[in-house]
């Protein structure tokens, strides 16, 4: 394989596939012509829709609501003050709101004089109860809610002026609400201008009351405009899919149909390299399609005048474009692998199309979900393929996407893509797709006939793609759980054991992977070793595990203390509040669920399954690094809160545990070490800072002397592990 991945050969293979795709006019048409046609049409449709919502009469009547019935006369008084000023001609009337949709037609910049100006009759005033005010605002019954209005006297020099304290709320992103709020603000501004004018002209100030207005936008965008924003990612994603579909079919099923597949598969080039070159071509075409579509969107909405109406004051900026592009790229990579997996199985163009049409239809379903109002981008949605990318793109377009779901969405999309690529590599160039034998999809889950010593890396990635979303769903369920903390701990441990031990165990057994060598379930000692040597080795391993496991806590604690002093995370405080609850739970139960269960489950999964899967494909150093990386990543994303601070300590712990697993060829020293470490950390977490003082003094950090001593003990422990592995080798050799 390396022969083919080096010297630019893979690059040349990719270029060939890309050349083939880009020379095909059907690909080019989807790439260039479709965006040119689709977005202007989409923009016209949106324009029509927006005009429909805002021009139900040139002068919309806005509905104002007050919660307290006593406010109603005050609001009326305030508005009539403004109206009388307009009527008396003291100051110019309020300019009408400029609608983007109108201005784009060229009629809104300078409204004709005969157009009716907004004034008091632009408003309808409703008095509702305080309790229903917010819901009336959210449901759109009212455009603006007056949450407070007070009239008071304000001394100005020797005189006294009447002043209104007003607070209003409107729905964020709601066109009518925002316009109504602007109108109210402008009327208040008129009144304030008049007071300033009155003061200047020495007119008695009490006749020109001033207004202090506070406006607040509430809630999320949930009206027609917000739904329109949801349409754009959907169109972008559907276009990206459309762009990738043709090359994906052509480079796989098409290759077979035109009779080049067999000759290609018969060459010594590894199938995975061939698939990778095809994948690169499909992703590139999908990416180019996404780029062309994104550019067309930007041009349409920036220069067509609709941008501000749909995306708010900033419009569809280049910055938004740059943020969406990587998301679309990740999506393109994900979907291309899905397409390749499906098309690799097909024997002909027709068959591939038959597989893809239902997939495209399925894609529309989450797309329609994003168009529904009030759909929040939650952690749960973040693991749903496609829906996660749609919601993330929508939230990027409308403002700030939520951090945790965004991160989850990106990671899960990459994980799903990788899993699909693994499946594609199993299907691509198989006897079925080359020769058209009678195999079916069930071949994918057919039990292998021969047992294996290493799990296939593909098996591991497929399991990872299953594990990742399930973990999030379980975390989300845990946050809804309302029972006692100790029950939750038990359930967590149970979930961990199921996902990290029971299901992988079943998965590996089904795939005829020999469990003892794979998961290193034995004590790792050679059969050739004499009983006494075996016992010495076992005692040595226990001692080494104790040495390392009982010292690592210092570094973990220092990590947390450093983190605390940098105050990078709010959830340290949350942990503090949890501490009280924990103190009420028996320590034995905590040890069982929080120290022992994770130690066994994580060692089984990361040092057993993952490490073996990597070892089957690459060398020991890389395998340890990769499994430690996954171990670190797992701790970052566990729970509902991202914990980036956990990455470095757990990654380092992963390196230590991985090395020990390789040296001892057993997971048990790691389990023992991991448990000791967890237990000590948990014990420390129950102590009050005052109880730690005799140990560490008043310092905010673990004393350097402790850390230095700890490092020495760890080194001694690791040296012992290493010498035990040498000891076994030398004894076996004898």
């Amino acid at each position: 394989m390396n022969d083919y991945l080096s010297g630019g050969r893979l690059w040349r293979l990719c270029l060939k596939e890309l050349r083939e795709s880009l020379r095909d006019r059907r690909t080019v048409m989807t790439l260039i012509l479709m965006p040119i046609l689709v977005y202007p049409l989409l923009s016209m449709a949106m324009q029509r829709l927006l005009l429909g919502t805002v021009s139900k009469g040139q002068q919309p009547s806005y509905v104002l609501g007050v919660g307290d019935p006593r406010y109603a006369p005050l609001v009326s008084e305030l508005l009539s003050n403004a109206q009388s000023l307009i009527d008396s001609g003291v100051i110019s009337p309020i300019p009408p709101i400029q609608f983007e949709s109108k201005s784009s037609e060229g009629s809104g910049e300078n409204p004709p004089n005969d157009e009716k100006q907004p004034g008091l009759d632009s408003f309808e005033l409703f008095s509702i109860t305080d309790q229903t005010l917010q819901s009336a605002l959210q449901s759109g019954q009212i455009d603006v809610a007056f949450t407070k209005i007070e009239k008071r006297e304000v001394p100005i020099g020797k005189a006294k002026a009447m002043s209104f304290d007003v607070e209003i709320e409107f729905r964020n992103g709601d066109r009518r609400g925002e316009d109504a709020a602007i109108l109210v603000r402008r009327m208040c501004q008129l009144i304030n201008d008049q007071q300033a004018y009155g003061l200047r002209m020495s007119v008695a100030p009490e006749f020109s009351p001033a207004v202090e207005l506070k406006t607040r936008g509430v809630g999320r965008k949930d009206d027609a405009t917000a739904s329109l924003v949801g349409v754009i990612p959907l169109v972008l994603i559907l276009m990206t899919i459309t762009g990738a579909v043709y090359p994906a079919i052509d480079l796989t099923a098409g290759e077979r149909e035109r009779g080049t597949m067999e000759a290609m598969i018969a060459t010594p080039a590894p199938r995975f390299a061939l698939l990778l070159s095809k994948y690169a071509a499909v992703v590139t075409v999908a990416f180019l399609t996404a780029l062309a579509n994104l550019f067309a969107t930007w041009v349409t909405f920036s220069f067509g005048g609709l941008g501000k109406a749909i995306f708010g004051p900033a419009g569809f900026s280049l910055w938004t474009l740059l943020q969406i592009l990587p998301i679309l790229t990740i999506f393109a990579a994900f979907f291309s692998s899905i397409l390749l997996a499906l098309c690799s199985f097909a024997k002909s163009f027709k068959e591939a199309q038959a597989y893809l049409i239902p997939v495209m239809l399925i894609c529309l379903a989450p797309g329609l979900v994003t168009l529904m109002p009030n759909i929040e981008f939650t952690n749960l949605f973040a693991v749903v393929p496609l829906l996660n990318v749609l919601l993330l793109s929508r939230d990027i377009m409308t403002g700030q996407p939520p951090l945790v779901p965004s991160f989850i969405a990106v990671i899960t999309t990459i994980a799903y893509g990788a899993a699909a690529l693994v499946i594609a590599s199993h299907l691509f160039g198989t006897s079925h797709s080359v020769m058209g034998s009678q195999s079916t999809w069930s071949d994918l889950v057919r039990r292998p006939s021969k047992p294996k010593d290493h799990p296939d890396l593909g098996l591991f990635f497929i399991y990872l793609a299953f594990l990742f979303p399930v973990l999030f769903v379980i975390s989300s369920m845990a946050s809804w759980f309302e029972g006692a903390t100790d029950t939750l701990m038990g359930l967590n441990a149970l979930a961990l054991a199921s996902l990290f031990i029971v299901v992988p165990f079943a998965w590996l057994s089904f795939n005829r992977v020999r469990l003892i060598p794979t998961i290193r379930l034995g004590d790792g000692s050679s059969n050739a070793l004499a009983w006494s040597a075996r016992s010495t080795r076992l005692a040595g391993m226990i001692l080494a595990s104790l040495l390392v496991g009982s010292t690592l806590w210092m570094f973990a604690l220092e990590g947390v203390l450093l983190f605390k002093s940098w105050s990078l995370s709010e959830h340290i405080d949350q942990l503090e509040s949890l501490k009280q609850k924990w103190l009420e739970i028996p320590f034995g139960w905590i040890l069982l669920t929080q120290a022992l269960a994770p130690a066994i489950a994580e060692e089984f999964f990361f040092r057993g399954f993952a490490l073996s899967a990597f070892l089957g494909r690459t060398n020991q150093v890389r395998s340890i690094l990769y499994s430690a990386f996954l171990f670190g990543l797992f701790h970052v994303i566990t729970g509902n809160v991202l914990s980036p601070e956990k990455f470095i300590p757990t990654f380092l712990l992963g390196l230590v545990l991985g090395t020990i697993a390789v040296w001892t060829n057993s997971i048990w020293p790691g389990v023992f070490l991991h448990f000791t470490h967890n237990a000590i950390v948990l014990w420390f977490s129950r102590l009050e800072p005052s109880q730690l003082e005799p140990w560490f003094g008043s310092s905010e950090h673990v004393p350097l002397l402790w850390l230095g001593g700890g490092a020495l003990v760890i080194t001694a422990g690791m040296a012992l592990f290493y010498s035990l592995s040498r000891f076994q080798k030398s004894r076996t050799a004898e």
Partner: protein, 260 residues
Amino acid sequence: MIRADHLFKQFMVRGTPLVAVNGISFEVNSGEVYGLLGPNGAGKTTTLRMVMGLVEPDSGLVTVGGRTNSADSMEYRKLLGLISTNDGVYPWLSVREMLLYFADLYAVDLDVAQQRMVELSELLDISSFLDQRCSTLSTGQKQRVTLARGLMHDPPVMLLDEPTRGLDVVGSQTIFRFIEILKNRGKAVLLSTHRLDEAERVCDRFGLLHHGSMQYEGTLQDLQRATGQQHLTDMFIQLIGKDHHHGSPVASTETIEGSA
């Protein structure tokens, strides 16, 4: 050069096992053309694919130049060239691009590949359209490009799967000329065909397959002696007729005296 020992392969067809190849053994030496003959469904293509390493035999072993596909797939495959009746071309690539692509897949150095392309272009008369897109070529031109593609890595073993199927007289002649060239260059050629007349012309030795089993093996003279028939066609009619009389496939393999 090629040595196949007791190859056995069965496929599952809608849940029922179907024996495609049943214990076939044969050898092909360098500079020799071996005809794997049989009616449709005899197991020729499956045998060829097992030799090619595209299908793993359920039991039995193939070695090419002493190597096996399972031990060293890369080096094994470099020894083999494949030309099949279904072979196509890449419509959007030029002939040159396609030939160099295949040379690259066989890890042939670019300089060597360029040189070999020139040589094969002259031999197969494709120089005039080397830079033309494959989609614009005639059937005969595509066929010659395919032959050149199979030789770009200069393999010592050539596998030809029904190479003349669907070709006219001129096309078939090109193939025969090509097989002659291969033979003269000392390549071991394994030819699968159901065109018995053409096999008789070009093959040195034959293996007659029926229902996945080797029925007769040897030179034409060996076969004539064993069957009492003069021509391969008559031998086949006899073989199929036997099948009709008995109503079951022939399971045993008759080895003819004097065969290799």
